[in-house]
């Protein structure tokens, strides 16, 4: 079986295909990104998330990523808008998509408070789009330099996006295969009744069986939808399911642009004929232009090899990342060690409160910290359930109190967390001096076990 898969992969990645799906993807991705970025600015989030906070929770190893101040932040977002427009129309495409990838990823790396799987997905997709010739058909670049036009490209340039989407859905499905989601119908048993005011279905949402039905359907959908979209026999009904599923989640939960991004991007699964039709439809809306004799897209061998190597590495990482949690002891949802970058979405209802205490070791005198003096509500809420953020803030506090003249302050966290309705319990060992604990990829021994 493995052999047939390998051959299949080989042919589907090398066989020559029409470029239309890539052009459609470029337009779909560029335009939905434009909407996302503009929405983000209009909601005042640039200021609320990146300008107002005095302290940012950077990612481990990315402390050098600093918020560039108000002017710098708006400049970054202006660049994102310009890049999204250029990607959509296919002008200066390579520069635009690289700029988009870099600016977007930079913003995401500023503060893990705002981490969302869908932002990660955007970074990953933008990264993949750097390596494909999405601008060499139906683009302003081609209009300006007709020689760029190609109509046939190697299959991999399209199939990497399908593979990435399959991985996203599949791992999202796999992460739902656990006791809480399937047997306890958590957290949907909490989240669905919270929407009981909705017209028509509101009453249903309070029913226990509905929480079970949604949980199981969600898991099955995520596990199989990618594969169903691959097969042309199931593609149309599968895409209808994609639309219904994502619109339902958009209606029920505050998940922002994610549903629409997925609805747009999964169009890539359709056949080249469908995509040519889409392009032809767009052409009807635009002035006619003289066509140029199209060609086959060819890369010099060393460039092709470089890209192949890069893609193999990328997907190897993609496949391994969601499993890294297995290296850590304890309950994943509780410790969140190996939780991010694994397509774990909508899996838990987790809340917490954390009180930090700073002690002067010389006098033995203690202070409780008012977190809101340093953090926004959003940051405090996110921090209260995530150990790595608690540690980062403890280090920040230690530095603050050093500045106030206290030598080697002892920083402890008294934190209470509730997970999927478990009731709050002590989360962090409140006797441990977090000021002297270091962030590593290793297990944090000071996280108390969930069951005690």
């Amino acid at each position: 079986m493995l052999n047939t898969i390998t051959t299949k992969l080989n042919t589907s990645f090398k066989v020559s295909k029409h470029i239309a799906p890539l052009a459609v993807l470029r337009i779909a991705f560029g335009s939905i990104m434009l909407v996302s970025v503009v929405r983000f600015i209009l909601r005042g989030w640039v200021s609320a998330f990146y300008i107002k906070p005095k302290f940012h929770f950077t990612f481990y190893g990315f402390d050098w990523v600093k918020a560039p101040g108000a002017a710098g932040m708006y400049l970054l977002f202006a660049l994102l808008i310009i890049a999204a427009i250029l990607v959509t129309i296919g002008l200066f495409y390579r520069v635009a998509i690289i700029a988009f990838f870099l600016c977007f990823t930079y913003v995401e790396l500023l503060d893990k408070t705002t981490y969302l799987n869908h932002y990660y997905f955007i970074s990953v997709t933008a990264f993949l789009m750097i390596w494909v010739p999405a601008h060499r058909y139906f683009s302003v670049d081609v209009l300006l330099r007709p020689k760029l036009l190609v109509n046939r490209i190697p299959g991999w340039a399209i199939n990497i996006f399908k593979l990435q989407l399959i991985l996203v859905y599949f791992f999202a499905g796999v992460s739902k295969l656990n006791y809480d989601w399937l047997i306890a119908a958590m957290p949907l048993k909490i989240w669905l009744p919270a929407n009981s005011q909705l017209p028509i279905i509101g009453g249903l949402l309070t029913q226990t069986w509905v929480a079970y039905a949604f949980s199981w359907f969600g898991a099955i959908f995520d596990l199989f939808i990618g594969f169903l979209l691959l097969d042309k026999r199931y593609r149309k009904p599968a895409y209808v399911m994609v639309i219904i599923f994502h619109l339902a989640t958009a209606w029920l939960f505050k998940i922002g642009m994610f549903p629409y991004i997925m609805i747009f991007v999964t169009v890539i699964f359709f056949s080249e004929r469908t995509h040519i039709k889409i392009i032809n439809f767009f052409k009807l809306l635009l002035p006619r232009t003289a066509s140029h004799a199209p060609a086959q897209y060819r890369l010099p061998q060393f460039k092709a090899n470089f890209i192949y190597g890069l893609l193999v590495l990328h997907f190897a990482v993609q496949v391994v990342m969601p499993f890294r949690f297995l290296l850590y002891p304890g309950k994943l949802y509780w410790t969140e060690e190996g939780y991010r970058f694994s397509w774990r979405v909508m899996l838990m209802e987790k809340g917490g409160t954390v009180f930090f205490h700073v002690k002067d070791p010389k006098t033995g005198q203690k202070s409780e910290v008012i977190n809101s003096q340093y953090l926004t509500d959003f940051q405090e809420t996110q921090m209260s359930t995530q150990p790595d953020m608690i540690l980062q803030f403890a280090h920040f506090l230690a530095a603050e109190y050093e500045k106030k003249g206290i030598k080697n302050p002892v920083v402890t966290a008294e934190s209470y967390v509730t997970l999927n309705g478990s009731g709050s319990r002590l989360f962090i060992d409140s006797t441990v001096n977090l000021a002297t604990e270091q962030e590593t990829f290793g297990h944090k021994k000071w996280i108390r076990p969930f069951n005690n």
């Binding site: 295969l177 006791y179 009744p193 199989f224 026999r233 809340g351 509730t418 009731g423």
Partner: protein, 370 residues
């Protein structure tokens, strides 16, 4: 194609084994929802009809009485009229404790809370307003020179006893402007109270009852967020900061609420009782019924029982203290800190357990559920 599906099924089954082995243990304590619909609209109707509007009505009446007492005092400053103003002040300040929580809708529009009760009062600002005969209520610097804290100082803190205070309004320097200032402060309280009350009784009540979802800008969201926020004000500002829990043990007795009138503990007790009353919805539908209907659990029992017990435990610890609280902080701070510690435990139950069990969103921004 079929092979892909088989492969997916096999991989999925393998993973189910891995994950269920490592993670199933947490499920034992998850609540089982009974499936009954909780009437959120009914809760909002009850709380607005039987708690919020009566609170604003009483508060508006109290500030009207206070303003009238100030007018009478200014017309004829005497020990009798001064005592009457002081009594009216205490009554209004106590009623404010039952009114401060509802900082959304009409109250949020005029930022009622900070305009009414920013303390400790800024004595320098107050005195400079009087000596320069200027008071601009819109000035940010005047937030701590207006409302109850400023009145507290002007009516109780400007002399050793009532005779000395009276002098300030009769023969003392700037007596005339002092009276003008006093009148401006009580009038502002009354105007604000009237504005908010009339907004509630005209249109806002319907708006409030109809926003019956659970997101940040729903009424349940507002109410929960403000209940928690106001509770934290109580815990931090009415007791914690004065008792020195946030300042390496250095106490600040003069930072208590109502420092000059010396009714801090009375205010604190009233505030706590008012918050509990909102939680229970008085005798109607409240958060207690909501949590019971969601079958919310805490520490092996019901969350509602846990919250009620913690309200009682905190109240009990406050019974060990006496007014003036500032004197307690100086003489018996251990008991004050003990009360604070008990109050702190309730923060967790309200802020974390209650909101999480009900799926109420407490922050803006998109989420994907982590």
């Amino acid at each position: 194609m079929r092979k892909f599906i088989y492969l997916a099924v096999i991989a999925a089954s393998a993973l189910i084994l891995i994950q269920s082995c490592s993670k199933s243990s947490g499920g034992g304590t998850t609540p089982t929802n009974t499936g009954t619909t909780f009437d959120r609209k009914g809760m909002l109707t009850n709380i607005s009809t039987n708690i919020i509007i009566p609170a604003y009505t009483a508060y508006q009446a109290n500030t009207t009485t206070l303003d009238a007492a100030v007018t009478a005092f200014n017309a004829n400053p005497s020990l009798t009229t001064l005592t009457a103003v002081q009594a009216a002040f205490k009554a209004a300040y106590l009623q404010w404790q039952s009114t401060s929580t509802f900082e959304f809708g009409p109250a949020a529009q005029i930022e009622l809370r900070v305009n009414t009760n920013t303390y400790p009062a800024d004595i320098n600002q107050i005195n400079s307003n009087i000596t320069t005969s200027t008071y601009n209520s819109g000035l940010l610097a005047n937030l701590a020179a207006k409302g109850f804290p400023a009145l507290d100082y002007l009516l109780f803190g400007t002399g050793a006893d009532n005779n000395a205070i009276l002098v300030q309004y009769t023969t003392g320097a700037n007596a005339a402007y002092r009276k003008t200032y006093l009148a401006a402060l009580s009038a502002e309280l009354k105007t604000n109270a009237t504005t908010v009350l009339s907004a509630w009784t005209s249109a806002y009540k319907t708006t409030f009852v109809n926003a019956d979802g659970t997101d940040v800008s729903s009424s349940v969201g507002y109410l929960t967020n403000q209940l928690v926020f106001d509770y934290e004000i109580l815990k931090n500002y009415e007791i914690g900061i004065p008792a020195g829990v946030q300042s390496m043990g250095t106490t600040f007795p003069q930072k208590v609420q109502g420092f000059y009138s010396g009714i801090s503990l009375q205010l604190l007790n009233q505030h706590l009782a008012a918050l509990k009353n909102i939680y229970t919805g008085a005798s109607g539908l409240g958060f207690d019924d909501y949590l019971i209907s969601a079958n919310a659990k805490y520490s092996g029992g019901s969350l509602n029982d846990g919250i009620i017990a913690q309200f009682a435990a905190a109240s009990a610890k406050l019974q060990n203290l006496t007014d003036p609280l500032s004197a307690n902080i100086q003489s018996n701070n251990t008991a004050v800190v003990a009360a604070y510690t008990e109050l702190q435990k309730l923060t967790v139950l309200l802020k974390t357990d209650m909101t999480s069990s009900l799926g109420i969103l407490i922050t803006y921004g998109d989420n994907d559920g982590d």
